[in-house]
């Protein structure tokens, strides 16, 4: 296990998040499925204006094994509507939002496009970071280096089952932020904050000064505030996407995000 680019500083995503964190704010990163509906970019803009510190954009993949029913459905709907990775990136290139954009997708799309080509396509679309949940540290060496040289922060994930020595290596290699997967399981809302979320966040913040964001299972403003007693921030996906699938327009989606923002700032 080795960091592919030891000592290489993070890029635009990381510096923006560090600056906000160091200024005393808790970080809020909402997730939206790219290409979900013809007006999906309206949601991106509305959520940006509602207090997001960065926005995670899912590029739909046919076989999203880390996703639960809500994001699976959103991905399937977007794919049925004809969305492609290139289409999502073309949209993002014109999104004109002031916060950094980070894409989340599955590794096959990157493998198919090629590391160098994909990294440059992301950079050209103005994307500042990339999360690939099925590309663990051991397989990520080349991607980490390629993304870094294109100016894209390759975000790595840590899980509750990650042992300490491995967690050290992940912290060292991750760029942008450290994505702490708050529970054993796929994306989706849960009634209560998992105990594993706070425990993992504490293990992470104790060993890195990268921003540590907890994602997967964070379902409400209360849960976000609770985990942010330890973590630097949260990623909120299914709770937002469920509302959109249920018919919430950009303003309603933004209102949900603004509510989480208020809770984190309180």
């Amino acid at each position: 296990m080795s960091a592919a680019a030891p000592g290489v500083p993070g890029g635009r995503l990381e510096s923006a998040l560090r600056a906000r964190r160091d200024g005393g704010a808790k970080l809020l990163v909402p997730y939206l499925t790219g290409g979900l509906g013809p007006d999906w970019l309206e949601y991106v803009r509305a959520v940006a204006a509602a207090g997001a510190d960065a926005i995670e954009i899912g590029i739909p993949f046919s076989d999203p094994v880390m996703d639960g029913p809500v994001i699976q459905r959103a991905s399937a709907d977007a794919l049925a509507g004809g969305v492609t990775p290139a289409g999502v990136l073309a949209g993002l290139a014109h999104a004109e939002v002031s916060v950094p954009l980070v894409v989340m997708t599955y590794y096959n799309l990157v493998a198919r496009g090629g590391h160098v080509r994909t990294a440059h396509q992301l950079a050209d679309a103005g994307v500042a970071g990339a999360i690939l949940p099925d590309l663990p540290l051991d397989e990520a060496t080349d991607w980490l280096a390629t993304a870094a040289s294109a100016g894209v922060d390759a975000v790595l994930l840590a899980a509750p089952t990650t042992p300490d020595d491995r967690l050290d290596a992940i912290c060292e290699a991750s760029r942008g932020f450290l994505y702490a997967v708050g529970l054993l399981g796929v994306t989706g809302e849960r009634d209560r904050l998992a105990g594993s979320a706070t425990r993992l966040a504490a293990r992470c913040t104790a060993r890195t000064d990268l921003p540590v964001l907890v994602g997967v299972g964070i379902s409400s403003a209360d849960q976000a505030r609770e985990v942010c007693r330890v973590a630097d921030g949260v990623v909120i996906g299914s709770a937002l996407v469920r509302r959109i699938l249920g018919g919430a327009g950009p303003d309603e989606a933004a209102e949900f995000v603004a509510g989480v923002r208020r809770a984190l700032d309180a």
Partner: protein, 385 residues
């Protein structure tokens, strides 16, 4: 067919492309299997079950009437005669013993035709483990009897309604379960696919097919090996187990895919279900749906060692069309009194065609008959009207 080493690579293929939560479990499984496979007591327990419970060794049958018809000498390795009716039992007995050794009391499995699900449910019942099986809704419909069998064996069957609702989606759902349950659950993968160590582990558990067949062939052929060794390829476990016995002989190795699921024939390299291998996919990398009459071959990928054997030219991969498969299914029944599963009927379909064109007359062709056709009779009855 060597050990893939710590990175789990077969040439450029293989690897361990899984969510971080599963990485420690894969490493634990690798260590547990490495230790168990070197442990004489574990091997003796497995061999004992294979003999007294699964009915091994299975015979090699000389097909006199079929050979006359085709002009080549056809031998069948009879995995259809095992308990539960397919080679899948070899794999699950090993994995269930391994699960118990690791202290995991729950098995999950994906299944296409239902043969692996039935085998997993069987092994779980035998060892007192709980078992849940994911199966696409298309497959629960066309393999209704196997669904009932699994339930009789005490397993819970979860129909999967996402995506193409076949084997690929069952694997997705099993992986999602495992991400959440990894601390107590062993994922009993049904073929030579998935993240390292599965492709290697399942091949080793299936090599009993090839090792036995090689000995049996030598006895039958006065010390010689077959000229051609043929097996059907879904994920590729019966083929990998068969090839493992013959890879260092001069035999030509042939894997037969379903034409509608020909990941070797029409796929391109990709990374899905934990492995770098060949997959049917579009320009962007979205995985395409396979389509075959055989639920067991209805998979858009293939095990990474096959991708490697194909890339280095040690094995050849061909495909068979649904119609020819049905003809071969009937031919074996009529000439030999053996009703094959639709999956190995693909291997027979290729032999039937190739005997006319490219296999020299009089050649000895060993075909792995990976399973019996009981599960397919209702479906074939409906198709033949």
């Amino acid at each position: 067919m060597r050990e893939p080493g710590p990175g789990g690579r077969f040439g450029e293929f293989g690897g361990r492309f899984v969510p971080e939560s599963l990485v420690p479990a894969c490493a634990e499984l690798e260590a547990a299997f490495t230790a168990a496979w070197a442990d004489a007591a574990f091997r003796a327990e497995l061999d004992g079950l294979l003999a007294s419970y699964a009915g091994r060794p299975t015979p090699v049958t000389e097909c006199k009437r079929l050979s006359e018809r085709l002009g080549v000498r056809v031998l069948l390795k009879r995995e259809d005669l095992t308990h539960t009716g397919s080679h899948k039992i070899n794999n699950v007995l090993g994995q269930a013993l391994l699960a118990r050794r690791m202290g995991k009391s729950r098995l999950i499995a994906e299944t296409g035709a239902g043969q692996h699900g039935v085998a997993a449910a069987t092994a779980a019942a035998l060892l007192g483990l709980s078992c849940e099986v994911y199966m696409g809704e298309v497959d629960t419909a066309r393999q209704e009897l196997n669904v009932f069998r699994m339930r009789l064996l005490g397993a819970e069957v979860h129909p999967v309604s996402s995506g193409s609702r076949t084997l690929k989606d069952a694997v997705n759902e099993a992986l999602r379960d495992w991400v959440a349950s990894v601390e107590t659950t062993h994922y009993c993968i049904g073929s030579v696919m998935g993240p390292h160590p599965y492709p290697w582990l399942v091949r080793e558990l299936q090599r009993v097919v090839g090792d036995e067949a090689r000995r049996q062939c030598r006895q039958l052929l006065g010390g010689a090996d077959p000229d051609v060794v043929v097996a059907c390829v879904g994920g590729g476990s019966n083929a990998a187990g068969t090839f493992a016995g013959f890879v260092d002989t001069a035999a030509v190795l042939v894997g037969v895919e379903a034409a509608g699921g020909a990941a070797m024939g029409r796929g391109v390299p990709g990374v899905v279900h934990g492995m770098r291998s060949q997959f049917l996919q579009d320009e962007a990398g979205q995985i395409l749906e396979a389509e075959s009459i055989s639920a067991g071959l209805d998979y858009p990928g293939v095990g990474p060692e096959h991708a490697h054997l194909g890339a280095i030219g040690r094995a050849r991969y061909v495909s068979a069309e649904d119609g020819d498969v049905l003809e071969a299914f009937k031919l074996l029944a009529e000439t030999e009194g053996i009703i094959p599963a639709l999956e190995p009927a693909h291997a027979l379909a290729w032999v039937t065609a190739a005997a006319r064109t490219e296999i020299p007359a009089g050649s000895v062709v060993l075909v792995t008959l990976s399973g019996r056709g009981d599960k397919d009779v209702a479906q074939v009855m409906a198709m033949l009207g």
